[in-house]
Each structure stands twice: as structure tokens, then as C-alpha cells.
Amino acid sequence: MSNKIEIHKLDLHYGKFQALKAVDMPIRERSITALIGPSGCGKSTLLRCLNRMNDLIAGVKVKGRVLLDGQDIYAPGVEVPELRKRVGMVFQRPNPFPLSVYDNVAYGLRVAGLRTRARTAEIVEKSLKGAWLWENLKDRLDSPALELPLDQQQRLCIARLLAVEPEVILMDEPCSALDPIATMKVEELMMELKKDYTIVIVTHNMQQAARVSEYSGYMLLGDMVEFGLTANIFTNPADPRTQDYITGRYG
């Protein structure tokens, strides 16, 4: 399996504070990579570098390279909206638009200039099916998205992403607002999605990282302490700091 993304010597400063220190990490195509580490370690910052979400924050300086299919996404001339279409993001709290279920999924298509009604309907259906929502919602496409249960809202946000055909899906604590059953549904969906997409997830839930990911990176104070196969990290980590964190001794 090849690398979808390669991160080389990535530094990030928020003003004078260095949040990422020479981070190196590969992200394998069509697999789930988990970023773990204590709060403030830089894992969400690293995640947001992958589609240049940090550009929106004043005072952020990024050095180093992030290659998506071999092309540096920080190179001059990169179209950031186009990048964010290829590398989409799901957030901690489901954030559907205050629109109908249908319009949430169709929104990105309209922004992208798709005007034909039949084609839009086709993609909405395919995206809702991809997020395991079609059976639940096919008769309620006009309902307000904000009235759905939280896990359906989260999966609607995933459907909204799928509609614009991303290649990489970034997930920042996607289950932290969900109960265990809803969490399980999202995890199962992730495992289905990785057949077609490359997924990177930030999670505080160690068991979630262990359950869903093939690769894990453990971060501490802006350093990538250890990166490797999740099965190895959770049975025989190479670095004592990783061991302390995943066994709950850290802190």
C-alpha cells in the first residue's frame, strides 16, 4: 500500500509557541491512521495541517512539507478550496447546516456549480447510502437536519463530505459527543469507508484508536514520539513514553 500523505519535518508555530516540532509521518492510502496523545500535544493541530485549516488562524507559521500524492500542499499556487475538497473534515460536534437533510448533502454540490436536479439527487442518495443513512432518512429528506439524533447528524456530516468526493477524511474526535451505541455505528462506518478513502482520526479514546486504526502516531508536546502499526503500539510500544500513555500511567 502506498502513502497517500507524507509529512516531512513539519514545524508549526502559533506566534512564539511551537506546537509541532519536526514531525515526520506517513499516512497510508485506504487505511485508518489514529493520532493519540494528551491534550495540547499537537494532534489536532497536525490534523488541521493536512487540509490547511490552520491557515485560518492568525499568527500561524508552518514550515516543512506535507505531500498529498507527492505534491506539497503548502507550495505556492495551491488552490486551498480545491485541497479542502480532496481532504475533508469531520468535527467533534456534528455541525450540519440549519437546512433540510437533502440540502445539507446537496450544498457542496451547488457550491461546486452542479445545477442539474437529477444528477444532484443521484449523488445525495449515493452519499446518504455511503454514510448508512439512506434507509433511515429516505422518506424524511425534507426534515430539518438539526432535529436528527446526534449520531445521525454526525453521519450526515460524513455524507455531506462524501458528496464532494474527497480522497482523505480527517476526523477530529468524531465520537466524543456520542453515546457508545452511536460511537459503534460511526466506527463501523469508518471501517467501511476506509475501503475507498484514507482516514485520519484524532481521538482521546485509546480503545477507539486500538479498535479502528491500522496505524497510530503518539504525540507529546509537539513531537511525534512513536509511529507504527497500531497492533505493535498497543502490544509492544518501542518508547517508554508511549507505554506510559496508553497504559494510563502518564500524568
Binding site: 486500538a210 503500539i233 502490544t235 509492544n236 510500544p237 507505554q243 496508553i246 497504559t247 494510563g248
Partner: protein
Amino acid sequence: MERHFDTELIQLKQQLLKMGALAEAMIESAVKSLVERDSAKLEQIFRQEQEVNSLQLAVDEDCLRLMALYQPTAGDLRFLLGVTKINAELERLGDQAVNIGEIVERLLKEPQLKPLIDIPKMAGIASSMVRDSLNAFVDRDIAQAQAVLLLDDQLDDLRNRVVEELIEFMTREPGSVSRAVQLISVARILERIGDHATNIAEAVIFVVQGRDIRHHSQQ
């Protein structure tokens, strides 16, 4: 940070060591009964086996409970897996001591065949292998675990010598066959005890380093 889980692991370890001490004492008493031709300790060995058996159940139950409740990872997970393996080996050690004890009961009904030399030597090596493998577990001492693995060859060689010698004995004196066969069994049991200690030492290496060296695997 001290975890509540650590307290549980320490308690589990103590239980396993109690079992180890029992198994060790049982083996020593069994061999002593044979060498000194004294049946006084045999009853005690049979009683202690019951104790080892119930400890085995308790240790396994604890491991299962800790795995389910704490979902351990990394070193903690390897520790619990190691404890279940060592637990099974200790229970078998107890059984082997009883097997020797039963043979001794029969042998003591007949006159001594010959003064024993190599069998006590084997017993000494086997006992120290058991003791050292348990110490290696307590101290997380890889060097000591590896030393146990090396002793196993000496035990195998001695066993072969004992068997050869006793076969010669039987050929010369047909009247010695039943006693010689029993002594061969003792030698084989002592060799098996060395194998159990070897398994414990291998489990220690797995617990400490995450390397599985069984069957000479290269991982």
C-alpha cells in the same frame, strides 16, 4: 501516577508467587523423600497440590476479570498474558511433584536399588531452574531467564545418562526391572520439570521484552 490497577497487579503477582513457592517446596520434598527414603512428607505434598489447584483457578479468574475491566494494553497486557501462562506451568509443576511422590510411595516398599547420584543432581538443577525462573519473573530479569534456558540442556544430558545406566542395570539384573523403570520415570519427570521452568522463563522474556522466543522463533 499510581494506578488502582497497579495494586490489583501486585496482588495478582503475590498470589502467583505463593503458588510458585508451593510448587517449589513440593518438588523439593518429593525428591528428598526419594533420596532419604522417608515417606513422612508425602501426605503434605498431596495436600499442597489441592492448594495449588485452587490458586490456579483464583489466578485465572483474576486475570480474566482484570482483562475485562481494565482493557490493559502493552506491558500490562503482556504481564497478564504471561501470568496466565506461568499459572498453567505452576499447576503442572505441582502435578509432577505428586507424580514423583506416588512413585516414591511404591519404591519405599522395596529395598534400595542403588545409591542415587545423578537423580539428586537432576533434582538440584530442576529445582533451581524453577526458583530462578520465578525470581526472573519477580525481578523482570532477562539474563536470569536466559540462564534458565541454558540449564535445560544439562538436565537433558543427565536424563539420558540415568536412562542408559538403568538400562544396563536391568540387563545385568532382571530382578531390578520394576525399580529401575520407576527411577527412569522419576528422571523423566525431573526433565519435564525443567521444561516447565523453561516455559516460565520464556514467558518472562515475553512479558519484559515482548519477544516470543518459543520454538526458536526469531521475532
